[in-house]
Structure formats: C-alpha cells, structure tokens
C-alpha cells in the first residue's frame, strides 16, 4: 500500500537527479569537465522564479523565463570568464579548474542569498491542475510536470546528439579537444553550447523541482553533489546513462531510510560514493572507444 507511494517518490527524486546528471553529462562530454556549479544554476532557476513571483508580482511564466535565462547566462559566464582562462593557463591540470568551480559555486550561493534572501521560498507551479490519484496515493501536478520534462529532455538531447552536426561535434570535441582543435573544429563554440545547454537544463530542472520542498540559496551544494553522484553512478556510455544513475540514486535516497531509518541516507550516500568511485569509477555504462 505505502509501497506505491515510495516508488513514486523514488521516481520523482530519480528524475530530478537524472536531469541534473544530464546537465553534468553535457559539460563533461563537451568540455571534459565536471561543472559543480550545476547545482547553484538549478538553485537560481528555482529561487529567482519564486522571488520574482512572490515579491515582484510577476507572472509565473515571465518569472520562469527570466530565471532560466539567468541560469543559462551564469553557465555561459562560468565558461567564458572562469573555466576557459583557468584551463588555458593551467594546461591539463585538474586542480585549478576544481578550485575555480568551487569558488563559482560558493559565489553563486552567496550572491543568490544576497539577491533573493536567505529564507526558503516556495516553488512555483508552471501548470496547475488537480492532483492525479493512482491507487490510494496522490500524485502532485509538479511531479507529473517534472516526469514529462525528464522524458522530453532526455529524448530531445539523444536525438540532438545523434542527428545534428553540433551534437556530433560535441562528442568529437569531448573525445579529444586537442585533435579537434587541430582538425579545425570550432572547439570553443561547441564548449560554449555545452555550457549553455547545461545551464538551461539545470535552470528548468531546479524550477520544476522547487515545488516539492521549496528552494533556498543553500540548496545548490547538495543538489550539485547529488547530480554528480548520479552522473558517476550512471557513467557516460550513453545519453540515457545519467537517467539510470539518477533513478538508482533516487531509490537509495528513498529506500535506505525506509529500511534503515533516520540519518542512514547520509551514511548511505557516502558508502555508495566510496563503492562506486573505488570499484567502478567509470559508472555503469561505459562507452567503448575504438582503439
């Protein structure tokens, strides 16, 4: 009886984690880089919308448009102003980029709090219709919208990567930036598109998930961690891998506390991370690269 509700919750959390992981995936494939600022972009998407609706009396759709644009703009700024110069200077080293992205994460978090306040704001629903009853459980509209967006986003990106020139370039550049540069491919443009898309995706995701538990300026860090874990668990073998990772993580988030109670999910996440990173750091789905 209660079980169905749990599966629905796991599905909702899984879609959320999966979408964040997809945003990671885009930047990772396109720019070979884990963009931890994905979480804060999503936070901006949610928090900015709520702020504009509640305090500036804006229409929900207009506010959402502004917030998503802001999230995408932040992503573009991250690439142009921070990641690109830092990577160029440090060559292949991972650490400077990691520190830079930590600074970006911290700065967006502080800026979000400064601009939109430090309190948790309620998420805004883009569509309002009556909750749907499945068996003896109720599914909120926001969950359905998130679910629908997940399907659209994943299917859309899968098609885009497979059948457009830019999509194929994305993989080519990600596989070997150096070689792509030598071949005269537009490396910088492709990277920028990857960041832009991931920012858009994260912004929308944050906005759609916010109605579930509200959003505050500090939500970004834990969202960033969850999305990262989901992406690592899924791997980069296919566009759909982040979704699988997200769903698995969603199930952990819901069923570990169900069977072990209380704080166990904190320990659970640590164990999942240790196990996966140690045993299968490339995730469940690995792309076979021809040698």
């Amino acid at each position: 009886m209660g079980q169905l509700q749990l599966w629905l919750s796991a599905l909702e959390m899984g879609c959320f984690f999966g979408l964040l992981a997809l945003a990671y995936y885009l930047v990772l494939v396109g720019a070979g880089f884990f963009n931890f600022a994905i979480g804060p972009y999503a936070m901006v998407g949610g928090l900015c919308t709520s702020y504009l609706v509640l305090y500036e009396d804006m229409n929900v759709w207009a506010a959402a448009a502004v917030a998503i644009t802001a999230a995408a703009a932040l992503a573009v700024v991250t690439e142009l102003v921070v990641v690109r110069p830092v990577q160029r200077r440090s060559g292949g080293g991972e650490l400077p980029a990691l520190v830079a992205v930590a600074a970006v994460l911290f700065a967006i978090q502080q800026l979000g709090g400064y601009l939109f306040g430090y309190t948790t704001l309620p998420g805004q629903n883009l569509l309002t219709f009556d909750p749907v009853t499945v068996g003896d459980t109720v599914v909120q509209p926001s969950a359905l919208v998130l679910l629908a967006f997940t399907v659209v986003a994943f299917a859309g990106l899968a098609v885009w990567i497979r059948s457009t020139r830019t999509g194929r370039l994305l993989r080519a550049v990600g596989d070997s930036t150096h070689a792509a540069g030598l071949l005269g491919l537009p490396v910088n443009r492709v990277r920028l598109i990857a960041f832009l898309l991931s920012g858009l995706l994260a912004g929308i995701t944050g906005l759609l998930f916010a109605p579930k538990a509200g959003v505050s300026s500090l939500s970004g860090l834990s969202w960033a961690l969850s999305g990262f874990l989901a992406m690592v668990v899924g791997g980069t073998g296919s566009v759909w891998a982040p979704l699988v990772g997200g769903l698995l993580l969603g199930a952990v988030e819901v069923f570990v506390p169900y069977y072990f109670g209380g704080q166990s999910h904190v320990y659970g996440l640590l164990i999942v991370a240790l196990l996966f990173f140690a045993l299968k750091p490339s995730g469940l789905f690995v792309r076979r690269v021809r040698a």
Binding site: Q3, T120, P122, G214, S219, P257
Partner: protein, 405 residues
C-alpha cells in the same frame, strides 16, 4: 590580447558585483533613533544572524527588537536615556560567535540579545561568562540554552519543552490518543529539544521515531515507516521551514485521517504556509503562543499593522522580541543604570510577574537566580488548529492548557 580582454571583463564584473554588495544594504536594517530621550545612550548589543541559516527567524525578531527600542525611546527612554542598538551578524557560524560578542562588548554594549541559530547561542554561553555581560535569547525554546554550564548570564522567555510535554499529554488524553509516532529533523536545535521533550511524554507510547535531513527533498520513506507503526497521531518536531512543510505535505497525502501535532515553529512562519500544498495543513495542531484574547497582544498587533500594513501576521517571535526589550528595560530601571553588569544581571533575576505580550491574558514572566526561563506555568501556550486555507483557524476546541501552575 585575449588575456587582457578577459581580465578587463573580470574587473568590470567584479566592480559591478562589489557595488551591488557594498551599496545595496537593505533598508530594513534601519537603526532606531533616540526619540524623545535625551540622556547618555545605553548601548545594547544585538547578535543577529541576517545572512546565515538562522536568518529566516532571526530577522523577524530582529525587526521587532528595533521597533520596540524605537517605541521605548519615543516614550522617553529608560531612566531618561535612549537605548542604542549595535548590531553584528554571526551568520549562525559558531566559529564567529566569540568574535562577534567581543566586538559588541567592545562597542560598549552592556547587555546583549542573542538572535541566532541555537548552535551559535550554545557556543556563545562560555564567551558571555568570560565577558560578564547578561544576555537574553528572545526566541529560544531549547532548554539547554539556559541550563548549566555557563548559564549564569543567559535568559529565555518562552515555555520550554517541559511545559510542552505537559500540554501535549493533556491534549492526547482529551483526544483519546495512546500511541504516537514522531517525525523529526536532524538539526542541533531539534536534537536537543527531542532529548528533553520525548522522554517527558510518558503519558503515551511512542511507537516510532523517524528522522530526516533538515534540507531533505523527500520524506515519503520516513512517513511510510511511521504508517507501518500505526500510531493514533503523529508529532512533527522540526525547526519549521521547508522540512516541516514537506513533512505535512507528505503526511497529509500518505496518512490522511491521522491526527497531526507540531511544535511552535510552523505557527511562527507565515512565509512557510505558502509552501504547503493546498489544504495540506488542515487539521494540524501546533503549539502556539499568540492568543488574541490577550490585550497586550492586541496592542502589539495594532502597532505592527500600523508599521507593516494590514496583512501582517503577528508571530510569537514578534511578541517575544518585544517582551525581551521590555524585560531588559525593567531590569535597567531596577539596577539604576548599566554600569555594573553584575547588578544588572541580578536586576534581571529580580523581574517577577511581568505580564507578557504572548500567551493567555494572565500569563506572566518571572526570573530568578535558578530561573533563567521566564515563563510562569504552561498558559503561555495554547494549541492552535490550522484551517483548510493553510492558515491558523483558532484555538483547538478539544483541549487548551489550564492557566494554573
């Protein structure tokens, strides 16, 4: 060339951001003026978390502390002298607390209001002892804040968890509830509160206790476990905010029909009510402190509505902030000044029978050497029920705490 362009962009961005950050200080932090009082100012320190995790409730009380001080000054001040507020922000970060308190003391503060997260206030206790300054934590409800060690100088107003247990037990008895389930968050504040409250609920059997992270996005697992334990009612203990609302949303849909109780926080956070799904709070009973039959509450409501508009919802935080300022005013008058902080501390302890702005009409606050908690008896509390519009409907008809000690 590319590098210099980048650095130019960066400098511009940085400059813009710094301008925003430097000049954009929000207008709500206006300082109270001296009003009609003319003597040498009495400096009071306020440690207010205005940007950290405790900002959501600290700023409500901080605003009313300023309002109360303005009101006192407009009416001639204390002993003819105006109260002057110095404010520092600790961001609820315990490592910053000692420096913040020292800084307030360095600016001449003779008494302090601690309006921050409870981890920060706990960290403050030992510094207070070192400074020798008395302090009031206006909205504190955690008994450990005023319990030893280092509690000689710290005071709270509201009923603590011991009284709450008594009220809940009365309510459970009246509603024929024998088994309850508890859903709790993982914050320091609530862990300390649970430790005091749950053992005192000996009148019922606690069949399950489930904990979730304060920033959880999903609580369906915890609620499913509660449901399996089949309690007659569920008690949610949390600092409020998103966790409380998520808990109530989930309980409302998964355990429809089971009576729900909560602590005070949800009633004090009008902003959180909007977070709840339509009708999700209906029937929820919380431990309120605002009783509109209290004439002093009515007077404060009038004042607040004059200042902030008709839609302002008064909370216990407003009333407790107001009373904190007035208790301190009384103590300063009794001590004849603020130069001797030991005497001031004793003067706070000699405040007896102060009629409070929250609680029922005859509810009073008294302090003493062993009584660092002002509330006299449980009638500072009343059980309030939420209506279908997700707003408090009024006192719960089934049970109200009696006003005897």
């Amino acid at each position: 060339m590319g590098v210099s362009l980048t650095s130019r962009i960066v400098s511009c961005l940085a400059l813009a951001a710094l301008t925003v950050a430097g000049c954009g200080n929000k207008a709500e932090n206006e300082k109270p003026s001296n009003g009609t009082a003319s003597g040498a100012p009495i400096i009071i320190g306020l440690d207010e978390d205005s940007t950290g995790s405790g900002a959501s409730y600290s700023t409500i009380a901080g605003k009313t502390i300023r309002l109360a001080i303005q009101d006192v000054n407009d009416k001639g001040g204390v002993l003819g002298r105006p109260l002057q507020l110095v404010v520092e922000n600790d961001e609820s970060d315990p490592t910053k607390v000692p420096a913040v308190l020292q800084k307030l003391a360095g600016q001449g503060a003779k008494a302090l209001f601690l309006q921050s997260g409870s981890a920060a206030i706990l960290q403050a206790k030992s510094t207070l002892t070192a400074l020798g300054l008395p302090a009031i934590a206006p909205t504190g409800v955690t008994a450990t804040l005023v319990a030893p060690p280092d509690n000689e100088l710290i005071y709270m107003l509201a009923n603590t968890t011991t009284d709450w247990a008594q009220v809940y037990c009365g309510a459970f008895k009246a509603a024929n509830i024998t088994k309850i389930g508890v859903l709790t968050d993982d914050t320091t504040t609530i862990a300390a509160l649970d430790k005091a409250l749950l053992p005192a609920l000996s009148c019922v059997q606690i069949v399950a206790t489930e904990k979730g992270a304060a920033n959880a996005s999903d609580l369906s697992a915890q609620v499913a476990r509660l449901k399996n334990a089949n309690p007659d009612a569920v008690l949610v203990t949390s600092v409020g905010g998103a966790f409380e609302v998520l808990a109530q949303n989930t309980l409302g849909s998964q355990m429809k029909g089971t009576k729900r109780f909560s602590l005070a926080s949800i009633g004090n956070q009008p902003a959180s009510w909007k977070l709840a799904a339509p009708g999700a709070l209906e029937g929820l009973i919380f431990m309120g402190s605002i009783n509109t039959a209290n004439p002093r509450t009515q007077a404060l409501v009038t004042l607040l509505k004059d200042k902030y508009g008709k839609d302002y919802d008064i909370t216990a935080y407003d009333a407790q902030a107001w009373d904190s300022v007035h208790v301190l005013k009384l103590a300063i008058e009794k001590a004849g000044g603020v130069d001797d902080s030991k005497k001031l501390n004793e003067a706070i302890q000699s405040v007896k029978g102060y009629p409070a702005t929250f609680g029922q009409a005859n509810f009073t606050l008294s302090f003493g050497a062993d009584k660092h908690l002002g509330a006299d008896g449980p009638c500072g509390l009343s059980l309030i029920e939420f209506g279908a519009d997700n707003k408090p409907k009024g006192p719960w008809a089934t049970f109200q705490p009696p006003c005897v000690k």
